[in-house]
Amino acid sequence: MNALTRNESRALARAVLQIDVANPPGVMSHVVGLFSRRAYNVEGILCLPVGDGRLSRIWLLVNEDQRLPQMIRQLEKLEDVASVRRHHAEHAVFAELEEFFRP
């Protein structure tokens, strides 16, 4: 959550990214590294295998700033990324997990 408090960061516009990836070890580092080395804060991460486990789906909750379209293009450039979809922050995936993150 870095320097932002939970309430402050909630006030920012958010986006949810749905990223389908091949599943070798290290794919998370490739995805998250793109954000961290641009000092682009990732607010939430979820990742589980899909189907027979050769593919995984990564969900990212990110702040929506002007760099986001470029971030999505960079994600699409990664060898192990099959597709990236952008959703609104109200997407159910993080909303329904809220109850596991009560203080």
């Binding site: 070798p24 290290g26 580092s29 080395r37 379209p69 470029q70 293009r73 699409e76 990664l78 060898e79």
Partner: protein
Amino acid sequence: MTETLTGAQLTVRLLERQGVRLLTGYPGGAILPIYDALGESTVIRHVLPRHEQGAGFIAQGMARVSGEVAVCLASSGPSATNLLTAIADAKLDSIPLVAITGQVPRAMIGTDAFQEVDVYGLSLPITKHNFLVSSTEELLEVIPRAFAIAASGRPGPVLIDIPKDVQTRAIEIADWPEPGCRRPVAPADGMALTEAAALIGAARRPILYLGGGVIHAGASRLALDLAEKANLPTVMTLMALGAMPVDHRLSLGMLGMHGAPCANLAREECDLLIAVGARFDDRATGKVAAFCPQAKIVHIDIHAAELDKIKAAHVGIVADLGEALARLLPLVPENPRSAWNERVDALKTAHPQPLPELADPRSHFGLIRCVAACVDDTAIVVTDVGQHQMWVAQAYPLRRPRQWLTSGGLGTMGFGVPTAIGAALAAPERTVVCFTGDGSILMNIQELVTAAEVQANLKIVLLDNAALGLVHQQQTMFYGQGPVASTFQVLPDFTAAARAFGIAAVDLDAAANPLAALADAFARPGPCLIHARIDAQQKVYPMVPPGAANRDMIGAQA
């Protein structure tokens, strides 16, 4: 028929199947099984440098000259970390490399084993893609894929980290995979090409802006055809030099921080910028807000991530440049564009690249032109990084693609000598000239002995000002304390050092007739170091101060 092979033998066989006939690397404990298998190969020649960074740059030299994927090897730990700078350099200049590193056995990964370092983690942000191979079987997929990734789209380096037990374990092989090769790119959008052609047709003051992508795509000829058909004044980035002969009637030379004044000024006036394989790098654009303020932009690049990254394009085209330009060419109307070209010619006459003392072989520009006169356009020109690099970019008559090898994006001192050796190995029929400085050459001077061993046809021209020239220049121009830690109080005797490493050397300062001494050095085959003292007070002009607009050039009238 099945064969039983170890992972190491498998790796070497897969490299052979990729067509690899020459590679370079440095052995060590964790990659010895692969070296043992290399010893069995009758088709692969291995060149041993004297430092792993040398291996990385020798491979780069091979790749930059040929356009094909080149391979380098290193062991685990320090061997791999020494390779990293050359890999990062390849990433920024889009050079196709496959780097193979040995890793400690899988069971020891994560235990702080001897010479263990997380090469996968370290190489993550500086490679196009990387692999930590987790089984011997996986090599069959990973190695061809690494070559395909390195060569496809925007080229780049791929690292394969192979644990030692993956190398030693034997498996049965029944079927071999197809060699990995460049994957085709989707064709350019026809509508966008039509729009681009209409913009070019309607533009009154267009500029063609060529980047290194034109060289990688082998699209220089088509770019030239486009420029000539539509009479487009053309600027080139550092990486694109040679895409159009710099003395072509439409060429304005290099743009950017140390670009020709006329190139920066003409670009300022343009109403349409046609960017081909260029990425609007900060050294080319200067202050972005002031870059081509009135211009519409057509941007053609192989990757969508480059479009709208720095400047929004009015027409963005994602395609292989050769394919896009071949289809764009018939759509673009012929146009003499006399008024604009007259204006550009007037700018060229009034604001040329300043090249003082061209006739004096003891001046930096004079020396560069005299060296150029010793060879023809078939020669390969390599530089290190610093003032000499910019002077060569400004003054050398570069006329063909892949003639010019320089570290553009990363700006790595020490690049020159090993890259030049790689170039000489990949193109033994050509003369290779490496311009370097007294700072840069010391960063990989050990490779002089490699040059001697392989008898590279390499002429190293050392411009020695006993200073870190570009640092000295910036400190003098922009910092209150002036030069700090940028002059050398003690220098090696470079000609004696070269001879000690086993290569010929000539000191132009001591020569009664420097032109004759230079001609003599070039006439003899094999490696030679040519040493010349230059004045540390000389600056690279013009210079756009970092962060300033390109129109604010210092020294443009010098």
